[in-house]
Assembly symmetry: C2
Homo-oligomer: 199 residues x 2
DNA sequence: CGAGTGATTGACTTAGATCAATGACCGTGG
DNA sequence: CCACGGTCATTGATCTAAGTCAATCACTCG
C-alpha cells in the first residue's frame, strides 16, 4: 500500500534512512541531486525562497508520499526541502534507480505508469479546483469516487482531510454535506456517503 | 516548442491526424486504448459521465497539449473524450510508442523526465490553489516565475489566461494587480511585471 | 468599419472564511 | 480505572474577499 511499492526490490534494498528534526533542511537549491525520497513519517515541504526571504511552498509531502521524482532527471535541486515536522525519510539513490531502469525495462515501465497516473490524478484535482461552488466541488469528488455500485463513496480519511483536498475549510465542507443531506441528495453513515440516485 | 517535442522521430512519423466536430467523441470509456493524443487545434475535454447523465470534467486539453498519457499503461479508457470545439488531433499509436521505449532507453528516459516535470508543475499549481487570498496567490505565482534577475516576470499569455490558471476571475486578478501596483509592490509594463524588491 | 477580444474599473451580493463553542471519542499515564 | 489532553465532528454568528453583473476603452482582423 506504500507509495514506493513499485520500486524493484534491489532499489528498495539500496534505500537508506535518515531522521530529520523539525525545521531541518533535507537539501537546498543548487546542491547535487541524490535520488528519490520517500517520507516514512512526518512531513516535508519543498519551498522556493525568494530574495526577500519569504517562502513559497511548492509541495508538501506527507507520510507515505514520495517526492523529488523530477530531480532524477536534473543535476541539481531547484528548491529547498525542509522538515515541517520531525520526520524520517528513506533515500533511494539516483544511480541505483537509473541503472535499474536501464537494465530492466519493466522497472522503467512501472515508473512511467506511476508517473502517468499521478499526472492524471493531479490534473483531475486541479480541474476540481476550478469549480467555484463548494457543493459542485463535492459533487465532482463524489462523481469521480463512486464505487462500482454507482451510489456509494467511501471517504479515504477523516472529513477534515477531504476538506483540505477539496480546498475548503472543514467547516464549509461540514455545512455543505449537511445541506446536501438535508436536501436528500446524499445520506451519510460515518465515512460512507450514499448518493440518492434519483435526480 | 510543441508539447510533443520529446517524441522520437519515428514515433512522430507514425502519427495520424484526425478532425473532430464540436461535440464529437474521440473515444468512450471502456474502449480499447489506442495511444497518445496531441491536440493540434481546438479543445478536447475528458469527462466521466455519472449515471444521472451529468458530466464531471476530469481535464481540459488545449491546443498544443498532449493527453491520455496514462492510457498507454491501461487496456481500456476510463473516461470519455469529447471535442469541446472543432478540433484536430494527432494520434501516436501506443504500440509504436511502447516499442520505441523498449528498444530505445533514451526515449523512455525522455518520457519519464517529461512526466516527472509535469507532476512537479501540477503539484505546484495545486499547492498554489491552497492559498486563499488572491494577493498571496499572485505573490506565489510571481515568486515561482521570476526571471534570473529575481525581479522580472514575463507573463506567458494574456492576463485572462493567468487568471484562469490562478483560479481567479479576471476581474479579481486585475484588481489585485492594480492594488499591488498602487501599493508599490509591483510595477507593470504590459505583460512584464517588475517586483519592487524592497519589502 | 463593425465584430470580437482583452483590459480595466465600478457597484452590489454572497458564498465561504474566520472566530468560537460544544460534544464525542480515544489513547495514556498516573 | 479514570481524568486529561488531543483530535475529529458539528453548528452558530459574523465579516469580507472575491464572485457576478455591467460598462467603457483600446486594439486587431477580416
Amino acid at each position: 500500500m506504500d507509495e514506493a511499492d513499485w520500486l524493484p526490490p534491489n532499489v528498495r534494498a539500496a534505500g537508506t534512512k535518515r531522521a530529520l528534526k523539525k525545521g531541518q533542511p533535507l537539501f537546498r537549491a543548487g546542491q547535487r541531486t541524490v535520488g528519490l525520497y520517500e517520507i516514512v513519517s512526518g512531513r516535508v515541504r519543498l519551498v522556493r525562497v525568494d530574495p526577500s526571504g519569504r517562502e513559497a511552498i511548492l509541495h508538501r509531502a506527507d507520510t507515505g508520499d514520495t517526492m523529488t521524482e523530477a530531480s532524477l532527471f536534473s543535476p541539481t535541486y531547484h528548491c529547498d526541502a525542509i522538515a515541517t515536522t520531525a520526520a524520517r525519510v528513506r533515500l533511494y539513490p539516483k544511480a541505483e534507480i537509473l541503472a535499474e531502469f536501464a537494465r530492466n525495462p519493466e522497472a522503467a515501465r512501472a515508473f512511467m505508469a506511476r508517473l502517468a497516473h499521478q499526472v492524471m490524478a493531479l490534473r483531475m484535482r486541479l480541474e476540481r479546483r476550478n469549480i467555484h461552488s463548494a457543493r459542485d466541488r463535492v459533487r465532482h469528488f463524489l462523481a469521480v469516487n463512486v464505487g462500482a455500485d454507482g451510489r456509494t463513496v467511501m471517504l479515504p480519511g477523516p472529513v477534515k482531510e477531504l476538506a483540505a483536498d477539496l480546498g475548503l475549510t472543514h467547516e464549509a465542507l461540514y455545512r455543505t454535506l449537511a445541506r446536501m443531506a438535508a436536501d436528500g441528495e446524499i445520506s451519510r453513515l460515518g465515512s460512507i456517503i450514499r448518493l440518492a440516485r434519483a435526480v
